[in-house]
């Protein structure tokens, strides 16, 4: 049995959007074109919480994507990632092994010297992996996010996050200091000029305390974390090959989410300026401009690891530097994901994800 083929199968199903043309068969599963019975995001439909914290089996793909910029008491910087992907072979869920839902987890810890990665794959239907909206819980094997909120309260406001792999692990406690933030048009996030879109909301206001266990040491850390929730059935246009995705904590308390989907032309950019009290200001397509500053050789390829990010309309102009150039996610479908710091018109920290390289 080739585990590789399993992972690839899964990855193809799940993260075509992450990998773009790198997927061995881009049209596999028909993600680029038709929805094949899956639901398709519609604009103007408000989120229902806590229901929407849970899984949406009628959509083809979905994720719970958590990144944290962490700091030890001595000032050492760390990054942590915890992601749960859901991918559906068919638009329903049922009990038992015949469930068409597949789950994949990625966990990572980044230091300035190392980047630790682990991956888990599971089938739905039997309880090995899944998400429950209330009380909130998302898990695959022993990795999990456990909500501590009482019923009726914001289920994502108080979370315990754990992941343990052979080389590393972490236990983090996340407390939201602001509200949930819908991205795009009130949660309807357009992904291409042709209209591909997803449902997308974030919780960018977590303050974090916890500990990391690394091969050489255990570290108590504090910091900030950001949760992205997104689901869709056809998130990418056919000619889109990958993306750069920024989630930035500005020292002013404001947040910025911005991404650029690369295609044969200019690319498609989208950004949301989030005020310190959590009000989203979706910026029009093209408002965000990103330019590579420095590339590094990562896993045998040249990848731009330092960027100039501008939003002229907001007077925003910063240059990002990664904590570790080599923040390469050597998972079934590899991508770059790591903590960054930025300076310029304003400084701060955040996370950068780059796919399709």
């Amino acid at each position: 049995m080739s585990v590789r083929s399993i992972a690839i199968a899964f990855a193809v199903m799940t993260i075509t959007s992450l990998s773009g043309n790198q997927a061995p068969s881009q049209g596999f599963g028909g993600l680029g074109s038709a929805a094949e019975g899956f639901s398709v995001p519609q604009p103007g439909l408000p989120f229902h919480f806590p229901f929407d914290h849970g899984a949406h089996p009628d959509f083809r793909i979905e994720w719970w994507y958590l990144t944290a910029n962490l700091e030890a008491p001595d000032g050492t910087q760390y990054g942590a990632q915890w992601t749960l992907f859901r991918s559906a072979l068919a638009p329903w869920e049922n009990k038992g092994w015949s469930s068409p839902q597949l789950w994949m987890g990625h966990a990572a810890v980044t230091t300035s010297e190392d980047h630790f990665v682990a991956e888990r794959i599971s089938r739905g239907g039997v309880g090995q992996a899944g998400v429950v909206a209330e009380p909130f819980s998302a898990w695959i094997d022993d990795w999990q996010i456990q909500g501590n909120a009482v019923p009726g309260a914001d289920q994502l406001a108080n979370l315990n996050l754990t992941a343990t792999a052979e080389e590393f692990g972490y236990e983090l406690r996340l407390l939201a200091t602001g509200p949930l933030v819908p991205q795009g048009d009130n949660g309807y996030s357009v992904k291409s000029a042709k209209g591909q879109a997803s449902y997308y909301y974030s919780q960018p206001f977590y303050s974090v305390t916890g500990s990391l266990s690394l091969p050489t040491r255990n570290v108590e850390v504090t910091g900030k974390a950001w949760l992205d929730r997104e689901w869709s059935s056809q998130p990418l246009a056919e000619d889109q090959t990958g993306w750069e995705w920024f989630s930035l904590h500005l020292d002013t308390g404001e947040k910025l989410m911005g991404f650029r989907l690369r295609d044969e032309g200019e690319g498609f950019t989208s950004a949301t300026w989030i005020t310190a009290d959590g009000r989203p200001n979706p910026l029009p397509a093209g408002a965000l401009r990103i330019v590579p500053v420095r590339t590094a050789k990562v896993a045998g390829r040249q990848i731009p690891v330092s960027w100039n990010v501008q939003i002229p309309s907001r007077g925003f102009d910063v240059t990002t530097q990664p904590l570790n150039d080599q923040a390469w996610m050597s998972t079934s479908i590899p991508y770059w994901e790591g903590p960054i710091a930025f300076e310029g018109s304003v400084s701060g920290r955040g996370y950068l994800e780059m796919t399709g390289y």
Partner: protein, 803 residues
């Protein structure tokens, strides 16, 4: 240059004696052939077991199982995963596709540990269709052939799969086996993250089963392969006897050449190197031929072996041979090693004996008195060891040890026994020619002793194995008659049909005997528990070996069970012992029945007891008792009126025939090897006689000169050879019977778990005697023709130094 000249001089010997060269090479080639042929078969079978074990048992891996052999709830698997354990669920069971019963193994490919590295499920798309409904079965090409058309499921054919097994997604397996949410075992991967909660805390209800070093199949078939190996080795030894005697003679005959070469300045070292090089060259040449013949033998025998293993052990081995480099190399190695071992004595003599010692080819092979005494002592020691092993040692290896010591000891004793016999005959005769006849036979004995030992081994093996097989057959056929008492055997396709079938049959047959069984693990061994109804059929026919007086009443009450002989012997059970058949089912052993041809232990219990403890037991198969003259009618109405497919109806005669066929196939290989061994022995005899005939002239010339015609001399030579053959045959009879007894009473019990009564088959001996005699006559024919056609001048040359 000198080396080359010396080598040419040495090699010229063989040009002048092509027959000697032929005997040497063919002896070596045959020995290598049988050895490497058997090795090839064993290697193929073992590779196949290893493959099957890798596929089926996830060797290397530790499993979590339920100690009472029952299902594991799926929740346990989820609990372990969520505690961080890298584990994977497996569900196993048997499932019928039409007439084909498959071992169904449900796996979960996403969590399957990498190191199981078993069956390639293909690319990503194949994997998705494997885990998605309706699902895919992964089967061997042979199995695919059988079940194609019997199922709507997609079939994926893999050469790595053993026959009779299907891999399916665990979800599909649960659906087909109707065991939703159940697992048979949980595989624990080799790599686990640190800091896990102990298994004992997480799943205290499960126990860890370490993988056996050997798979079940490997363990079961071990005796069979040991058997083959023993035969191959026997043939190899017989072949080496030829090599030993031929090389010894060639060295002795070339002593003048050695002397000349030495006096021409060739050092002893160079001479030795040349001779060793020559031997290695021969060994390689003969080895090549031998390995090729071995391959041929193996490919001829392998289908039979495969059938045997299938019939006897349910082990699946492909009928075709693949060339394995290690096997080629080992074939050559054994040829070279064998040659060097059997020429060691000659080489040592070359080094030790003074340069000018007179060559004595005509006395070569005549052992010294001390040597003979040593041989007798060694024989006595071996025979005593054999007896000691028989009395005090246990196990299959000990059984073969008894056999080995017995055969070797007896063959070492043979020359002394024959010599005694011939001395006695000589003493009892008075006529000049008669006395000479016996005396000369005795004198030839040393030269022939290796061939005669080879013959003794071959004949004894033939008699022994033949007696064992025939005894087995006789017992087996009688047992079949008892065991297959029902006239018709039918199988319903599903539970509904089974219910309808029972109702339909109620008025049409004398009795319906359900045949229901579950596979369980008792005392750590996989075995079957059969359920039977209380019916006169069992009371009257079932072949009980041991039983208490009211055995069937006790069984019917549900409190007593019967065990088969294998289980009885293996576990050293006694009547009255308790067996745990399920966590809440303890039963008393009240009887033992013979159960030939079944590698596993078996328990028979009342069907109601079985169903109450194993509610999921399949109840699809039935034996039907009807008047013999109604069988045909019932059969046709079963298929025409009731609508059961003809494949699902088997009558007693067909079943018996099938069993007998399996039995016969089983011993086909043994028979073939027997014949090969006998052939090698005949070749040994032939080459020895040929060798001797070259040395015979000085012994025959004076007798001829004193007035015995060449024709009469030839006739006497023939008679002498035949007397030696017959004497050896006579010696082989008791040895063969001893061998048969050890096989039946010791080796069979250890290997198969059953003991068989020994029957004597004198007609078989006569047949074997005739075959042996024919081989003897053929082996003596060429040497004899040479003698009878000898020109007087050849004889005169011996007598005169001048014309």
């Amino acid at each position: 240059m000198m080396m080359w000249t010396a080598a040419t001089a040495l090699l010229s010997h063989w040009r002048r004696r092509p027959l000697q060269l032929g005997a040497l090479l063919s002896g070596l080639a045959l020995a290598t052939a049988l050895w490497s042929g058997v090795q090839a078969i064993n290697a193929e079978a073992r590779a196949s077991y290893a493959r099957a074990a890798a596929v089926l048992d996830q060797d290397e891996l530790v499993n979590l199982v339920s100690p009472n052999g029952r299902s594991i709830p799926q929740a346990a698997f989820v609990r372990l995963r969520r505690a961080g354990w890298n584990v994977s669920p497996v569900l196993e069971g048997h499932y019928r596709f039409g007439a084909t019963r498959l071992r169904m193994i449900g796996i979960e490919p996403l969590t399957m540990p990498v190191e199981t590295n078993t069956v390639d499920l293909g690319n990503a798309g194949d994997l998705l269709s494997f885990i998605s409904p309706p699902g895919t079965l992964v089967v061997s090409p042979g199995t695919a052939e059988k079940i194609r058309g019997q199922t709507d499921l997609a079939l994926r054919v893999s050469d790595q799969m053993p026959d009779g097994v299907a891999f399916a997604d665990i979800g599909l397996a649960q659906r087909l086996l109707k065991r939703d949410g159940e697992l048979s075992r949980i595989v624990i991967a080799g790599d686990q993250r640190p800091g896990l909660e102990p298994l004992g805390m997480l799943v205290p209800e499960l126990s860890v089963r370490e993988t056996n070093a050997q798979s079940d199949v490997e363990h079961l078939t071990e005796s069979f392969h040991l058997n083959l190996t023993a035969f191959g080795f026997l043939a190899f030894v017989v072949g080496l006897l030829i090599v030993y005697s031929t090389i010894g003679l060639a060295f002795e005959q070339r002593r003048p050449t050695f002397r000349t070469l030495r006096s021409l300045g060739v050092s002893l070292k160079v001479l030795a190197v040349l001779l060793i090089a020559e031997l290695v060259l021969f060994a390689l040449a003969a080895g090549a031929v031998g390995v090729a013949i071995g391959y041929l033998i193996a490919s001829l025998l392998l289908p039979g072996v495969a059938a045997t293993l299938e019939g006897l052990y349910g082990a699946s081995v492909p009928g075709t041979l693949s060339l394995r480099p290690e096997w080629w190399v080992s074939g050559f190695a054994i040829a070279v090693a064998g040659t060097l071992v059997s020429s060691a004595q000659s080489l040592l003599r070359l080094m030790r004996v003074p340069l000018l010692a007179v060559a004595q080819p005509q006395t070569w092979g005549r052992s010294s008195e001390a040597g003979r005494r040593f041989q007798v002592l060694a024989a006595a020691a071996l025979l005593s060891l054999s007896g000691a092993l028989l009395l005090w040692a246990d196990g299959l290896e000990a059984g073969f040890g008894v056999l080995g010591c017995l055969l070797l000891g007896a063959s070492l004793l043979l020359p002394a026994v024959l010599s005694g016999f011939l001395t006695l005959m000589q003493r009892m005769s008075s006529g000049a020619l008669v006395t000479w006849f016996w005396a000369d036979a005795r004198q030839q004995l040393p030269g022939l002793s290796f061939a005669l030992m080879a013959l003794l081994l071959a004949l004894a093996a033939n008699i022994g194995v033949g007696t064992m097989v025939e005894s087995f057959r006789l017992t087996f056929v009688g047992w079949l008659d008892q065991r297959l008492a029902a006239e018709l055997y039918v199988a319903a396709r599903n539970g509904d049909e089974a219910d309808r079938l029972r109702a339909w049959l109620a008025t049409k047959v004398e009795s319906v005997l359900p045949i229901s069984s579950v596979d369980v693990e008792i005392r750590g061994q996989p075995m079957q528990v059969f359920g039977v109804v209380d019916d006169p059929t069992y009371r009257e026919h079932w072949p009980l070996i041991v039983g208490i007086p009211d055995v069937w009443d006790r069984v019917a009450s549900g409190e007593g069970v019967l065990v088969n002989e294998q289980l009885w012997r293996r576990e050293r059970l006694r009547i009255g012992d308790k067996l745990d058949l399920a966590s809440d089912w303890e039963a008393t052993v009240v009887g033992v029945y013979s159960d030939y041809g079944n590698p596993k232990g078996q328990v028979m219990a009342a069907i109601n007891a079985l169903i109450s403890h194993y509610p999921q037991v399949s109840r699809l198969r039935y034996g039907l008792r009807v008047q013999p003259d109604q069988v045909a009618d019932l059969r046709s109405s079963l298929s025409d009126e009731f609508g059961l497919p003809p494949d699902n109806i088997v009558d007693q005669a067909a079943l018996k025939e099938q069993s007998r066929r399996i039995f016969d196939r089983t011993f086909l290989v043994t028979g073939a090897l027997n014949i090969f061994t006998l052939g090698v022995a005949a070749l040994a005899m032939f080459s020895s006689l040929l060798t001797l005939s070259e040395m015979r002239l000085p012994q025959l010339a004076p007798v001829w000169a004193m007035g015995v015609t060449r024709r009469d001399l030839a006739l006497l030579e023939l008679l002498r050879t035949l007397v030696l053959w017959l004497a050896t045959f006579a010696a082989a009879l008791p040895l063969g019977l001893a061998l048969a007894w050890v096989l039946l009473a010791v080796v069979n019990v250890e290997a198969f778990g059953w003991r068989l009564p020994m029957h004597i088959f004198p007609y078989e001996w006569v047949r074997l005697g005739l075959v042996a005699l024919a081989a003897g006559v053929i082996s003596v024919f060429i040497p004899l023709r040479r003698l009878a056609g000898l020109a007087p001048s050849e004889l005169l040359k011996v007598l005169a130094n001048e014309r």
